[in-house]
Amino acid sequence: MRTDDPTVHKLSELWTSLSGGKDVRSDVSFIDQGADSLLLITLLSEIESEFDAYIEAEELLENPTIESLARVIERKLEPSDARLVDRRPHTVDPRASP
């Protein structure tokens, strides 16, 4: 497990406390580690309060491991900064946008 990645680390902690698992794997799907829909719905609620990130059902199903879900969460937390950069007039000409 990559403990140097803060998102992975935090998500692992969440998952460990929810699943009560000792052998938590960050590269194995939640479902293969015994998750059912109740547990996954709870996980998404916890992610929402911990990270302030809303994850859709499909995003979780397509990224069903701690590692891949951490990337989804990070992408959701990034865009506000990225948009600020893009809005600077010298980098983006608004007339060029569709």
Binding site: I31, D36, S37, L38, L39, L40, I41, T42, L44, S45, Y54, E56, A57, E58, L60, L61
Partner: protein, 321 residues
Amino acid sequence: MTDVRLDPELLRAAAMQPCEDFTDPILARRAFDRATRLSRALRGNIDTAGLDIAARSIPRTDGQTIEVRTYSPDSDPAVPQPLLVYLHGGAFVAGDLDTEHVRCVHLAREAGCIVAAVAYRLAPEHPYPTPPEDCMTALRWLIGDESELNVDRTRVAVGGSSAGGTLAAAIALMARDGGGPALALQLLLYPVLDDRARTHSMRSFTDTPGWTSQNNVHMWRHYLGRDHAEAISPYAVPSRCGDLRGLAPAYILLAEFDPLRDEGISYASRLLAAGVPTEVHLFPGTFHGFDVAVPDANVCRRAMRGQIAALQRAFRIPAAG
């Protein structure tokens, strides 16, 4: 807070019931629908053998359509079949044709009747009276010739869970008052019936799994709109109907630790006083939506058998075995 003693088989699911906040109906709908899609993705295939499941679009008077899913058991095409129109829950603001797909499959297969689930329009975009009007439009179309379902019009029932139970009870009132159709049964599963929040269960159950008194206040606000202080129609709030005589026979299922419990008991006892044949089951140790949360628990199987038996009696279908 009342001591909540749940059935041991329901404990885990109760602890994990999402505590969605219905203050904002759009956020609540998003979370509700996400949970439905996750459950559907993980539950695997359910056995639908012997059923023809079809999507239908029913015309509305404004030129749009109401989406309906019909579950038709294999049967002799020459023999008219009984029909249950089933209305999902979701506090009037959430839910769709997938919300109660599993229940609809079970009821159609095991009771041996056609089941039609209706995607009525939702509040707050479409508050009362749109939802019950959509349901009545769908019901009348389904029993008509245009649907080609070959429904036996003497064996038509309406049912629903939670807010869908409100709509089912409203349809029963509208059918009695407005020229039919005659209904063989109103199947009300932990129904929402009263906006006045006067009961013990509604006052006490502020923290119960599945539904809370606070969310109940939000739900009625979204459904009735803000300016509803005077003259609330009984078609919006069935408990406000002063005269329950002549209504369709009722089957009412209630959960012990549900804020809606006592308004269900009260409605049942008023139906009985009005001479309406009424069967009431209160399942101990259960919470709002318990049978959807843990369908395999013993108490949920009992609840399902009760619904099937009630439909078969109402439809005069001999029970299997």
